[in-house]
């Protein structure tokens, strides 16, 4: 497989043409997986013997938390691509992903709080995982605010991608700092390669489908929003050229 083929999609026109074909399929698949995964989880799984029916929240909480982190990782990769190869689509994809990642962070925080109220007896605890997510939310806020504040597209892309790199390092540092600062209430990983640690099979399979649904939803939204950003950028460029003469 020739890796150079991949860069063809960095051409905005080619990107729009390709996503014209891909986007409907991804959207349909996303809706399908989400409906199946969430319905399976909501209607056809037993209650947990300790958590009762609140265990059903896992089908939203875990996938959204996963996507909150993966969205930032994707932004990190596309920012690097922008810095190294200067493809506009890459920078615009990072811009398009940020609000989606932020909403995922909010969903993870809210569902966690709603679950924590009956289970831990509190909406919020300064637990390392919870605190890290709050900090991640602040990073998303700053990143989006910087995009909005700068008028020139290229300047904004440069500044935000550097912020994304620096922010990633500090987000990681914060994660360890927070771990050191307070011991947690939060249970360990729900998903890992180590079978013993995993949640039981009845919960596991619908969870996988729900995660696939969230991933596809994220991809569909990012593609859609990137197309919007490409068009918005082209429009600004055209208007600017017209004003010049």
């Amino acid at each position: 497989m020739n890796l150079n083929r991949l860069w063809e999609y960095a051409n905005p026109k080619k990107f729009i043409e390709t996503t014209d074909r891909v986007l409907p399929a991804v959207s349909v698949l996303a809706v399908l997986c989400l409906v199946v995964g969430l319905a399976w989880g909501f209607f056809f799984t037993p209650d947990d013997y300790r958590q009762g029916s609140t265990v059903k929240i896992i089908y939203i909480h875990v996938p959204s938390a996963l996507m909150a982190i993966n969205a930032w990782l994707m932004m990190l990769v596309t920012s690097l691509v922008w810095i190294v190869r200067r493809h506009h689509v890459s920078a615009l994809a990072a811009r398009a992903a940020a609000p989606v990642g932020m909403v995922m962070t909010v969903i993870a925080l809210l569902t966690g709080a709603i679950w924590g109220q009956p289970m831990w007896g509190t909406w919020w605890a300064w637990d390392p995982r919870l605190t890290s997510f709050l900090i991640l939310f602040l990073f998303y806020l700053g990143y989006i605010a910087l995009w909005e504040a700068i008028e020139n597209d290229d300047t904004a892309a440069d500044l935000t991608s550097i912020l994304c790199l620096v922010g990633s390092v500090f987000a990681l540092l914060s994660r360890y700092a927070v771990n050191f600062w307070n011991q947690g209430l939060h249970q360990g990983a729900s998903l890992s390669l180590d079978k013993e640690e995993n949640v039981a099979d009845v919960f596991y399979y619908p969870l996988l489908v729900a995660i696939a649904g969230f991933v596809l939803l994220f991809v569909a939204l990012v593609l859609l929003r990137t197309r919007t950003e490409i068009r918005a950028r082209r429009m600004r460029a055209l208007l600017a050229r017209e004003r010049m003469g």
Binding site: S53, I60, L110, T111
Partner: protein
């Protein structure tokens, strides 16, 4: 059809409701902005073609 959620019904339902509302709002906002920008771009392109 509704499963018996026991005493945690409110918790589970509110978690699902909040999440679904947030996702739907995000999708709708993305779609609306997409349509708006597409229409604006088409208008601008038409204008530019006429002038140039």
């Amino acid at each position: 059809m509704m499963p018996d959620l026991g005493k945690y019904a409110e918790t589970v339902l509110s978690a699902y409701a909040v999440s679904l509302v947030l996702i739907v709002v995000l999708v709708l906002l993305s779609l609306r902005r997409g349509h708006k920008v597409k229409a604006q771009l088409e208008a601008v392109e038409k204008k530019v073609r006429k002038n140039g």
